[in-house]
């Protein structure tokens, strides 16, 4: 692709912005296309069209001087089929709107959010378009000036042959576009023309003659020739006014002139600018998306201009965002493999979504998808962590309450309902299911009064925080729902019992219930601790008393022994016999 510096921007529109906006397409290299690329782009034709082509009907020029006669009829114009969106430009400060240029140099605005496309630029978007084009013109002007200077030099070398004719053409054109172009620019244009013509003259005289003859014949290419001078479909140097409304009186006026000039020979010329309906716009957008779809559009199709590259970068984030939004909208599971997603051929598949092509390549899409999956999974995890886990027994018990009957043994019951989802729930083991079933069946055989008492006992065991006056039958705590006693009674009786119990309960504790409960816990603990301490003290005291008692006993025994010893020592003079007698 060409670098922007090589591009030439002939004659930027200065006054053209008042009632319409001219289309400044990207120019090919002037030397190539203007002079040798297309035979119709004669040097003679170029000058007048420089002065005239501001008219808002440049598209006609495309087919007027086309080599393909079948394209001349504007109504069933294959141009529509040939035309392709070529570049898009973000309009600063008019965010959802983008300016799209087509291969043929036409231009329309497209709203990326509402997906509407308009040939006729709305009033509120117009300033953005104008501003954008002014900026574009400024950029190109600088390059063009340098180029012109160069060409002028070249022209100096061999001005000659066509000078007279050039002068004539210029005079013709001037009348029509005087109001639109500044003098200086015009002069510049003329100089450029002269330079080119001179060059052409150098190249080949016979060709020059041919072109001249053609012009004389009254085809009047000048009246409609786009400014760049090349009429081919591949060219993009043509300025074009694409507001194709009939209200454009200027347009009509120009058309009249063209008609007068064209004569009867070519009635097709008078068709005027092609009217584009909604179908065409849709077609354009579809085409644009097709270009995005082919994967490497930027590289090989050459329809994207250089200037677009950086804008693409700016849009990439938006595109990625839109793509992610599409993924979210389709409610795609983040655990689906990418291959499955893009192989999906159902009508709800993402590849049928318009937003799928907002990213140009499958690789880019996959990258965005990967990031999306990562984010979505992370969010999903968080949500699941926050969500209260439901006891797997609750749905199973609800199922039992409905289906279980004492007439069925467990294997029979299992076989009968093996297709049910609850019967295959992994969270609840097979054994647990069987146990619950058997218990439930056994409980059904108990008298109702017992079952009722059990249920009331269960309800009483639930803390006030979970079950209180404010609790409705739909918001019963899991503790109740997952208990076998809850389903033992027939639903009608059960509901009655529960509502009766709830009505006797006090209202829910205040918001500080948790703190209160914690305090309660603490107090309970303190009490327990004090109790334990007292117990320990009592034990210690007992121990001490016991030890004391033992000590006393030991002392008494000692004393006793001492006394005995003393007595034994007290042997009098009367001798042992006396003593024995005494005892």
């Amino acid at each position: 692709m060409e670098s922007p510096t090589k591009r030439l921007k002939p004659s930027p529109p200065q006054e053209a912005s008042a009632d319409f906006v001219r289309l400044g397409g990207d120019d090919d290299d002037e030397q190539d296309t203007n002079q040798y690329g297309y035979t119709n782009a004669s040097p003679d034709a170029q000058q007048p069209d420089q002065s005239i082509s501001q008219a808002p009907r440049a598209p006609r020029a495309m087919y007027q001087h086309s080599h393909h006669p079948d394209r001349r009829n504007a109504r069933n114009d294959p141009r529509n089929a040939k035309d392709r969106p070529k570049s898009k430009h973000v309009l600063p400060n008019h965010e959802p709107w983008i300016l799209v240029r087509t291969k043929l140099g036409r231009r329309f605005v497209h709203n990326t959010s509402t997906k509407e496309s308009l040939w006729w630029i709305p009033k509120d978007v117009m300033p953005g378009v104008l501003e954008f084009e002014r900026w574009e013109v400024q950029v190109k002007e600088k390059e063009a000036n340098a180029k012109w200077a160069e060409e002028q030099l070249k022209g100096m070398r061999g001005t000659g042959g066509n000078a007279v004719e050039v002068g004539k053409r210029t005079r013709d054109g001037e009348g029509r576009d005087r109001r639109r172009r500044s003098e200086s620019l015009q002069r510049e244009d003329e100089e450029a023309m002269m330079a080119e013509i001179a060059k052409e003259a150098e190249k080949g005289e016979e060709r020059d003659v041919k072109e001249t003859v053609k012009n004389v014949e009254g085809l009047q290419p000048k009246s409609a020739q786009p400014e760049g001078g090349d009429a081919g479909y591949g060219s993009d140097s043509s300025y074009e006014e694409v507001e194709v409304t009939d209200s454009e009186f200027e347009d009509d006026e120009e058309r009249q002139q063209a008609r007068a000039a064209a004569g009867d020979g070519e009635p097709a010329h008078e068709q005027g600018p092609v009217e584009f309906g909604e179908d065409d716009i849709a077609y354009q957008l579809a085409a644009m998306e097709n270009y995005g779809l082919d994967g490497n559009g930027n590289d090989n199709d050459g329809f994207y201009s250089d200037g677009e590259a950086y804008e693409e970068d700016a849009e990439e984030d938006d595109a990625a965002h839109i793509f992610r939004q599409m993924l979210s909208d389709h409610a795609i599971s983040p655990f689906t493999p990418w291959e499955t997603l893009i192989a999906d051929s159902s009508p709800t598949s993402i590849i049928l979504d318009d937003r799928y092509t907002i990213l140009p390549t499958t690789r880019a899409r996959k990258e965005v998808w990967e990031v999306w999956v990562k984010d979505t999974v992370a969010r999903l995890k968080e949500e699941r962590a926050k969500m209260e886990k439901q006891d797997p027994r609750i749905p199973y018990l609800a199922f039992l309450a409905e289906k279980a009957s004492p007439k069925l043994y467990w294997p029979e019951f299992k076989r009968k309902f093996k297709k049910e989802g609850v019967m295959n729930e992994r969270a609840l083991g097979e054994k647990e299911r069987e146990r619950l079933y058997r218990d439930h069946i056994n409980r059904l055989k108990l008298p109702e009064s017992t079952r009722r008492a059990d249920l009331i006992a269960l309800l009483k065991a639930v803390p006030l925080k979970d079950l209180n006056k404010g609790t409705s039958m739909d918001t019963l705590p899991q503790q109740v729902l997952s208990h076998l006693h809850f389903i033992s009674l027939p639903p009608a009786v059960r509901d009655q019992v529960i509502s009766q119990h709830i009505s006797t309960l006090p209202p829910a504790p205040a918001s500080g219930e948790d703190a209160e409960e914690d305090g309660e816990h603490e107090r309970e603990k303190d009490r327990k601790r004090a109790k334990a301490l007292a117990e320990r003290e009592r034990l210690v005291e007992e121990e001490r008393r016991k030890a004391e008692k033992e000590g006393r006993w030991a002392k008494r025994e000692l004393r006793e022994e001492e006394r005995e010893l003393e007595r034994a020592m007290e042997v009098g003079k009367r001798g042992l016999r006396e003593r024995l007698r005494a005892e």
Binding site: S333, P334, F335, T336, P337, E339, T340, E370, V373, K374, V377, A378, R426, A427, G429, E430, K431
Partner: protein
């Protein structure tokens, strides 16, 4: 005699298995189809290609979920490995530089080839001839070099 593990005795899979169960079932069905597909008109080695491809896809799916997207837990990943949903050896190769896209383990088994070389699918595309279409014998891979 080993213990018979019936459905009632089996431990439930770790958390998160429900999310990927459908996809894994799909892979399982595809594999069944590939196994039962007719061999008519196919070369001998060609019959096995789909099996290799599907197991590769399935392993890649789980590998991506665990290592790239961090969408499944370690427990689930280990459980999947243990239960044969993925090829642990293949994943071990994917973690090594230069083997990020390896199609199958057979293709890097140099001892099985005549000249002790790897499979043709391991050759980078730029080293192949212009417009050379290859499809390897062992698994039908069309090229799994890391820089392709």
């Amino acid at each position: 005699m080993p213990a018979i593990r019936t459905a009632s005795k089996r431990k439930p899979p770790p958390e998160g298995f429900d999310d990927i169960e459908d996809t894994l079932l799909e892979f399982q069905n595809k594999l069944k189809d590939a196994e039962n597909a007719s061999h008519e008109g196919k070369k001998k080695h060609e019959v096995l290609w789909p099996v290799f491809q599907i197991t590769h896809q399935r392993s890649r799916y789980i590998y991506d979920l665990y290592y790239e997207k961090e969408a499944i837990s370690k427990q689930l990943y280990d459980w999947l490995l243990k239960n044969g949903y993925t090829d642990g050896n293949l994943i071990a190769k994917w973690k090594k530089q230069g083997y990020e896209k390896l199609c199958c383990l057979r293709c890097i088994q140099t001892k099985e080839t005549n000249f002790n070389s790897t499979c043709i699918c391991r050759v980078p595309r730029e080293q192949l001839k212009e417009d050379q279409e290859i499809q390897c014998v062992s698994c039908g891979c069309r090229g799994c070099s890391s820089n392709d």
